[in-house]
Amino acid sequence: MTDTSVPAAPGPTDRNIPRGKRGALRWWVLAFLFAFLAFMLAPIFLALNNAIKTATDYATNGPLALPQSFTVEGLLGFWSYVDFTSKIWNSLLLSAAVALFGVILSLLNAYAIGVGRIRGGRATLVILLLGIMIPQESLVYPLYYLAKSSGLYDSLWAPIIIFTVLQSAFGTYLLSAVMTTFPHEILEAARVDGANRWQILWYVVTPILRPTLAVLATFFFIWTWNEFLIPLVLLVSNANQTVSVAMGALSGQYVSQPTITAAAALLGITPTIIFFLIFQRTLTKGVVVGAVK
């Protein structure tokens, strides 16, 4: 039995808005959020919708119609054609290595700039930031020759090193801002307790910043996973290519087979979504951590 005659006590924040308007406002907000959600999910829906159709179904009903048929041929076809297992493995290796090394490099840089207050720290930051401000297209040529002459061309190490440096430019910028506001007394307490610089970094600073580092690693991972141009240029052999390069290579050959393209898109974004779902708690924690003193 439900008792509708007892009105719920208004929350403290709602008091200033009249009851009727409040209800209407909420519906508007909800409607807006749903529209936003639909907008965000539309590409994933499109990919999913068309990846499981047969080619005939697609040809008859168009890309927006719900599937009348069900097949995983497109998915399997793309998977085996581009040897997707090895592409995933390469992408995973590249992204994970960049996330790890990038965070380590950012942490070391930022520790020197934010906590160590080294001379010329600000200038160093500006130079580092040039790395992300200069368009990648203009870096490709020199990077190509650099990779060639150092013998790292067509090796995963080339993009690992390049992206570690590029991503850590942003990481250094972010972390040094965080470290400048790091409570000084805690660092001093650690010095009095007998910690040297490495020990302060390892035992005190890193664990306290762990949520921020996790966010940074997640971003580095996703950004690197989505990188296309530099891996395309540096990784020529099939065995070394990443997911995004494989998907790019596809568009020329399978122009007439949109269901396979859709399957490729779906397979391409799935790992990132899975990765995000695993780390979403860390992400939200890391965003909140600055607010809680």
């Binding site: 409570p183 007394e185 805690i186 001093e188 307490a189 650690a190 010095r191 009095v192 307790d193 007998g194 910690a195 020990q199 035992y203 005190v204 664990p207 306290i208 762990r210």
Partner: protein, 350 residues
């Protein structure tokens, strides 16, 4: 072990001198409080003892060994910070045992020492908690525990009670004092609160604008302040200061009121002086000086009266209950044997 000697120490930040030629000798086991208004350099001096701040000139020795060039960890000191500076990601036990871990003390030994300190500080039930799960007073105890487990030669406290509420502050004050009596470790304690200084210290160093104004036991400073600054800083309510000039056997206030002195002072007759009278050194006397009552504040045990005497505002406290109303006239007699006379120009005690 644990004597601290500060010899002609100076500190400057660029061209700004913040400490001028400070010399203080602290005996082993002594509880010395550095007190002064904010910005007087007391915290800087403490941080120089700790090794967190470079010494511009002079030297500091601990236990007979000059420590100017030594890192904080090599000075055999422990410090309690104003914000406690606990490691937020470590449990109470890990916070307290961190220095021992860094020093390579075996785990079992570490645990034992942490538990001993926790027992003394009443923290045994909290060892597995994180600092954020503790109250202000408990955090303060953890900070002290972190210092105690190391058994250092010198404890340094930097305004450790200023983040606590008034009641807890009084309580922790006596806890710190008790711990000092138990361990007898040399302690240097910085505060801007003169009551904290008076109640805790064996000896107080009063500082102002980067200089030492006076060093002495709490009662010495209270009874014989060396200058106007110390006289005004130590004691609550603050000492009443009347300006006027000196005659052979009396002080003559600006408005001509004569206040008789206890002794004959022919030497300085005519010079401009400040007469200091503490609030408790007034007696009710119908035949004394006439003072106009401004406010009356009874506290139960005593009555504080703000009154106008010799043309200046004066606070007096009486053990008796005063029934006078504001606007009425009260007869009061300043106790001449407890007067403090200072040269108005130099501020120095006469």
């Amino acid at each position: 072990m644990g004597a601290v000697s500060i010899n002609s120490v100076r500190k400057s930040f660029g061209h700004v001198d913040v400490l001028h030629n400070i010399s203080v000798d602290i005996a082993e086991g002594e509880f010395v409080v550095l007190v002064g208004p904010s910005g007087c350099g007391k915290s800087t001096l403490l941080r120089m003892i700790a090794g967190l701040e470079d010494i511009s000139a002079g030297d500091i020795s601990i236990d007979g060994r000059i420590v100017n060039a030594l890192e904080p960890k090599d000075r055999d000191i422990a410090m309690v910070f104003q914000s406690y500076a606990l490691y937020p990601h470590m449990t109470v036990a890990d916070n307290m045992g961190f220095s021992l871990k860094l020093a390579g003390v075996p785990k079992a030994d570490r645990r034992k020492r942490v538990e001993e300190a926790a027992a003394i500080l009443g923290l045994t039930d909290y060892l597995d908690r994180l600092p954020r799960q503790l109250s202000g007073g408990q955090r303060q105890r953890v900070a002290m525990g972190r210092a105690i487990v190391r058994k250092p030669a010198v404890f340094l406290f930097d305004e450790p009670l200023s983040n606590l509420d008034a009641k807890l502050r009084v309580h922790m004050r006596s806890e710190i004092k008790q711990n000092h009596q138990r361990f007898r470790t040399t302690t240097v304690y910085v505060t801007h609160d003169q009551i904290e200084a008076m109640t805790m210290a064996d000896r107080i160093v009063v500082m102002n604008a980067g200089r030492v104004e006076q060093i002495g036991s709490p009662l010495e400073l209270y009874d014989r302040p060396a200058n106007l600054f110390v006289a005004g800083f130590i004691g609550s309510p603050a000492m009443n200061m009347l300006s006027g000039r000196l005659e052979a056997d009396a002080f003559v206030a600006a408005d001509g009121t004569r206040i008789a002195l206890a002794e004959h002072r022919a030497a300085g007759a005519g010079r401009a002086v400040t007469l200091g009278i503490r609030a408790e050194h007034f007696a009710l006397d119908g035949e004394g000086l006439a003072a106009e009552v401004l406010t009356v504040e009874p506290t139960g045990s005593e009555t504080q009266v703000l009154m106008r005497l010799a043309g200046q505002d004066v606070v007096a406290s009486f053990r008796e209950r005063v029934t006078a109303l504001p606007g009425q006239t009260l007869g009061v007699r300043p106790m001449a044997e407890a007067f403090h006379l200072f040269d108005s120009e130099t501020g120095v005690r006469i």
